[in-house]
């Protein structure tokens, strides 16, 4: 710690910080633009000027930029010094020279850092009386609106997009006062993290285009903490609602998980909540006659019919969902009983998940958080396509490759926050990142070593690395020289690193790569290293479901086909995405009654005899377990209209209705509020025991009050419903959380999950985050960053995985079809959001050019492929990174039912596809 003197008061601060961060950390207001807590200082905007004095006798002092000055011991500065204040006001005046002052029509208005800083410096009167420069704006695609005239040239956008997020299709153009931040020509921003520009930009140059379509000011948003449901990483978000419409998603800082940034799927995937395809009423098929469509009925009647069916059922199959909360799944499990509860994932995925869970539970190596990944100094990725399956983790790796080169800057005593200086020293030097898989993405451009091979070969490389590192780890026979050399290079890099990280997962559907990753990590552990493991999983609650336990979907199918049960409850799941169409069809046909609880119409809900409208994540509370094993709570943001309630409440009502005539009720039927759900979840499996500690329970109060979800300045409350009633109805009650659907309540420091949105007087933009942290960039005050449910207890590897696959070779006339996931398109819910849907590519099949030649397929032609009983129209992409003997199929909505990996005779499948088309 260093002690610094600011305006004659002494403060203890971290000497590794710069003065700006230190001042903000101790709660002082100092304006800034170009500095960003995650991106450091570059000294461009000159806004954070303070006066620095040599010692207590120095009366003159000199202006310094706080962001470029280390907070070293004894530093003496003044923020209030008149010259410093005048300078800061002048800088704002200069920034405002060309600013259009269009706040009333600007989407940033009310949460604009430029507004806040202008008010903070006290600049009021305009003295510039010459024409302003103007720019033409660009169409940057469905996510981002562009209004260059508002630009104050802080360079944050280009630093984020290019330096931090690795994007190459965005830049700064021109020089002097004619600068332009955008693309070389109009077009969609291709980077998967472009949405962060909205928050990185201190004013309204880059704004959220999806918000624009249903615009609401920040102060009119009812907000709460959410957990992104669109992949397995569990990034924290703040969801904002007004008039029953979910308006937008913003990043929500969590020091262990997503930090300051989100991916575009997470930010723009929310609009399915507002979809016309939402199920809003309880539906019932008349007389349960399958020839008739389900129709809306009164809730009591639907429940009564459903309960009657349940009571008369020969057996009930409950199918849980990896995209539903723990509590909801536990509710179903309680209703149908553990033996009739199935996980809603196929046998293959079930096995992969079990292996991963086993590795994390019984092995000595802990799972990595995203922040751990960011700080890793050597990374091996086995078989995962991170940019498409876990984008935020890919963003972390882009930072991890700078860890080793940054040690050079450390040697030169350049502090890490001095971003421009560090980058000059680091230049293009990259720390070790090895990516092995069967598909090239732009992340490979940042890798120090790449390997393309079928999953079995990728696994062999992994086993070879483990065999090289670990004394007694099984080694791989008959390796080619090339692979042996690469394995040696990888092994060297990992063993020389301080914080190595191994990433694998379910993405390629390969069991062997997962085991290989465990061997590598365990071998490193055996060598006394402190490695971490990260397994990318398919869904936002895959690991939670795996922990809960239950049979696979195939077992559920068997249960019906073998006549053990005749009634099905499908919870928040489209089974057609999870099993082959014919099998699902047969399953539903065989079931006497099909009940479904979900939020969006899909092929499965079309089969439901009883269909209950489920709340989405923004309309309910729940706990999700991310791929790291971190349990995190999402909170209800608003009360939906129609019959929509939380799935667990439907299940409770079903349970109650079913057991009406029985003697007593137990389990889910007894649940009154969310706390009850949490309590039963905690009791479900030992790992969940402390699940109640994830976030404050419903009874939590501060000064006897709840925490309001609506901001101080929420407008129009008394007249919002005036088109329905002249009376002002009381706000809805919330029995489930310490939050209120209201403006009234406790305003002050609260445990982090209860922060409705980041705001502080004078800090209306997301930069208000500073005010919620003890130390800038550090954890939130009273941070509850989720609870890790799995920590290693073993001190050494329990065993080695020895099932090393043989070198990949495709049998004659057989191709291994592999899944190619898409950041926009492969995840079910986000794909139903219009902005994301616009970014979904046409379905395609990727092949090595030599395979294309073998099959007489040219690049970019369209083929018809008969696969697992369905014919798909696919574009052909010849891609030299695809291994021979394989073909990749893009998992976009039109192709979502395909089960991969699978062996197929492509020449036959294409022929059959053409034939079927003709018929």
């Amino acid at each position: 710690m260093a002690s610094i003197i600011v305006d004659n008061r002494t403060y203890a601060v971290d000497e590794r910080k710069n003065l700006l961060a230190a001042c903000l950390g101790i709660g002082l207001n100092l304006p800034y633009f170009c500095w960003h807590p995650a991106m450091g200082s570059v000294g461009a905007c000159r806004q954070c000027a303070v006066k620095q004095f040599k010692d207590e006798h120095d009366r003159c002092g000199r202006l310094v930029m706080a962001c470029m000055t280390p907070a070293s011991d004894g530093t003496r500065v003044s923020i209030d010094d008149p010259e410093a204040k005048a300078f800061r006001a002048s800088v704002i005046e200069l920034l405002m020279v060309n600013h259009p002052h269009d706040c009333p029509v600007c989407d940033e208005g009310g949460e604009c850092h430029l507004q806040d800083m202008t008010v903070m410096t006290g600049h009021v009167y305009r003295r510039y009386r010459f024409p302003k420069r103007t720019h033409r704006n660009q169409d940057l695609g469905p996510f981002i609106s562009h209004e260059m005239n508002r630009c104050i040239q802080c360079y944050r956008c280009v630093r984020f997009y290019r330096d931090h997020a690795g994007g190459r299709d965005f830049n700064v153009f021109g020089a002097h006062d004619a600068l332009y931040f955008g693309r070389e020509r109009d077009g969609t921003l291709e980077n998967e993290f472009s949405g962060n520009l909205v928050e990185v930009c201190p004013t309204g140059v880059f704004t959220d285009k999806t918000l624009f379509h249903h615009y609401t000011r920040k102060w009119d948003l009812q907000s709460a903490q959410s957990i992104c449901p669109h992949c397995s990483l569990g990034c924290n978000t703040t969801a904002g609602e007004r008039y029953g419409i979910l308006r937008r998603i913003t990043n929500r800082f969590n020091s262990r998980v997503n930090g300051h940034f989100l991916c575009d799927r997470g930010r723009f995937g929310y609009e399915y909540v507002n979809s016309d395809n939402r199920i809003k009423r309880a539906l019932l098929r008349p007389e349960l006659d399958r020839t008739k469509p389900a129709k809306p009925e009164g809730v009591p009647q639907v429940l009564e019919v459903a309960a009657d069916r349940l009571r008369r059922a020969r057996g009930i199959v409950g199918i849980g969902s990896p995209r539903a909360s723990l509590e909801t799944n536990v509710a179903l499990r309680s209703l149908v009983g553990p033996h009739q509860f199935f996980l809603g994932i196929d046998e293959h995925e079930h096995r992969l998940l079990s292996t991963i869970l086993n590795i994390l539970r019984s092995g000595p190596v802990p799972a990595a958080s995203i922040q751990d990944a960011e700080e890793s100094d050597a990374v091996l990725v086995l078989g995962e396509d991170l940019l498409n399956d876990a984008p935020r983790l890919a963003l972390a790796l882009l930072q991890s490759v700078r860890q080793q080169p940054m040690e050079r800057a450390d040697e030169l005593n350049i502090p890490r926050w001095d971003d421009a200086a560090v980058r000059n020293v680091v230049q293009d030097r990259q720390g070790p990142l090895f990516v092995a898989g069967y598909r090239r993405t732009w992340l490979h451009d940042y890798a120090t070593g790449t390997y393309f091979g079928a999953p079995d070969d990728v696994a062999r490389l992994g086993f070879a690395v483990a065999g090289t590192i670990g004394a007694d780890a099984p080694s791989v026979p008959d390796l080619t020289d090339e692979v042996r050399d690469l394995a040696q290079r990888i092994a060297d890099a990992l063993t020389q690193a301080k914080r190595p990280l191994i990433i694998a997962g379910t993405g390629s559907g390969s069991h062997a790569t997962i085991e290989a990753a465990a061997n590598v990590a365990w071998a490193l552990h055996q060598r006394g290293k402190q490695p971490r493991l990260s397994f990318v999983l398919p869904d936002c609650n895959s690991l939670g479901l795996a922990l809960l336990g239950g049979g696979s979907l195939n077992e559920a199918f068997d249960s019906i086909s073998q006549g053990k049960a005749d009634t099905v409850i499908v919870l928040e799941s489209d089974l057609y995405r999870r099993a082959e169409q014919a099998k699902v069809d047969a399953f539903f046909d065989a079931a006497k009654t099909v009940m479904a609880i979900d939020s969006l119409e899909h092929r499965t809900t079309a089969h439901a005899d009883v269909l209950l409208p489920a709340a989405t994540y923004s309309e309910s509370d729940g706990t999700l377990v991310n791929e790291e094993g971190r349990a995190q709570r999402f909170y209800q943001v608003f009360v939906p209209d129609g019959d929509i309630v939380e799935s667990w409440r439907w299940l409770r009502d079903l349970a109650r209705a079913e057991s009406q005539e029985a003697d007593g009720v137990s389990g889910v039927a007894t649940w009154c509020n969310f706390d009850d759900a949490v309590a039963d979840t905690a009791a479900a499996v030992p790992e969940f025991a402390r699940i109640g500690e994830v976030a404050p329970s419903a009874g939590f109060r501060l000064v006897g009050q709840k925490v309001p979800r609506q901001p101080d300045r929420y407008s129009g409350r008394t007249s919002m419903l005036s088109h329905l009633t002249v009376h002002e109805p009381p706000p809805p009650t919330d029995p489930d959380t310490p939050l209120a659907f209201s403006m009234e309540g406790y305003r002050g420091p609260v445990p982090s999950p209860l922060i409705p949105q980041f705001w502080s007087p004078g800090w209306n933009s997301i930069q208000a985050l500073n005010k919620y942290q003890e130390e800038v960039g550090g954890p939130l005050r009273e941070e509850m960053p989720g609870l890790r449910l799995i920590e290693p207890v073993a001190t050494k590897a329990p065993f080695w995985f020895t099932a090393i696959p043989r070198p990949f070779q495709s049998p004659p006339h057989q191709w291994l079809l592999l899944p190619l996931s898409a950041v926009f398109g492969s995840e079910e819910l986000s794909s139903r959001s219009p902005a994301i849907a616009e970014r979904i590519s046409e379905p395609f099949m990727s092949l090595h050019p030599s395979e294309g030649a073998r099959l007489s397929l040219e690049d970019r032609i369209t083929i018809e492929l008969a696969l697992q009983g369905t014919t798909y129209r696919l574009a052909v992409h010849l891609d030299p990174s695809m291994p021979a003997g394989t073909a990749g199929i893009s998992l976009v909505p039109d192709v979502s039912g395909v089960r991969l990996p699978a062996w197929v005779d492509l020449s036959e499948a294409i022929k059959a596809g053409r034939k079927r088309r003709v018929a």
Binding site: G43, R127, H176, D177, V425
Partner: protein
Amino acid sequence: MERPLTRYIHPDGSPRLLREYVKDGGYRSLHGLAAGMGPKDLQRLVGESGLRGRGGGGFPTGNKWSFVPMGPDASKPKYIVANADEMEPGTFKDRILMEGDPHGLVEGMLMAGYALDAEVGYIFLRGEYHRSAQRLTQAIAEAYAEGYLGKPLPGTTFRFDLHLHASAGRYICGEETALLNALEGKRAIPRAKPPYPQTAGLWGQPTIVQNVETLYNLPHIVNHGSAWYHNLSRSNDGGTKIYGISGRVTHPGWWELPLGTTARELLEQHAGGMFHGVSFRGLLPGGASTAFLTEEHLDLPMDFSSIPPQVGRLGTGTMIVLDDQTCPVGFVLNLEKFFARESCGWCTPCREGLPWVARILESFEEGRATDDDLALLDMHAELLGPGHTFCALAPGAMAPLQSALKYFRDDFVRHISMGRCPWSNKPAQLRVLV
């Protein structure tokens, strides 16, 4: 009087090529190295000579070199960069040297490279200097052919490679760290300091950036020793200097003279005084980014230490003369337009402040200025001053403005009161008072 820097330059401006250069004593400094002068010896010699950087900053060269990591553990490669991006308005001294004596630069680069054990050199040449480019290219080719470049120097293990890089044009490239970015093929934005180029410069490696004229001095220091060099000057700083004068003087031109020659001697003896019928009002001693000197300063020795800091600085030593037939406001407007256009656009005060200043000055010239505008000029002169901006461009731009506001304030006021430029015959602007 000795004129080492220009001794190889033909009076007609034609280049001195290798054979002639060697015959006249060129590349003789290599013998000194072969005779056992080590890098450290050379560094010491230059330090003792009192050589100061001729690019305008006047930083002692020996001192600058002392920050370069030496020895077997030093990060390799190290680079020497000749800053030949001569673009300071009013400055043409480097062009004279490079066009007339291209081998002098090659030899100077060799000396610097040897002293710092840097194996690669770049000449960062202004794109518009086509003739210099042509002659340097030829000189470099000759030096390679002769084995001065690309092979170990006789009697040493030191081998030096030299490349010419033509710039695509930007004044800011003259700032040494912006120059490094330009050389790396990036936008020429100045870099944060520290780290200084000596430890982390070109591609993150130890680098010395040196003005062309400075480099020309090195072979002579090696050949004749530091005492000889020091005695060339009339001041504490060693050597001769190429001075120049442009504007309405009888004989505009350039001269190599002892450092410390007075402005009066330059103006009256060498440039032959003012044009017939015009009189002297002031001069910028070394390019557009230096402050005005007036009659009272003419007897100051023109060196790096004699001009009091509150008055100004020498800069490049190529002077621009303001006469009484030229409007000082228009003069400053021309400079500020230049600086506004050449700002790199990185930091706020420079990017936004300079165009504002230029526009205000324009309104003076158009007769639309008010007293408020004069106050705004005063404000900017402070606001864009040293330490307030990322690099020295804006403070440099404010030097002539601030001094003009001091020495020629009456002329600014007359623009306001007359509603037109007193030097222009355009009618006064009608003023509408609101």
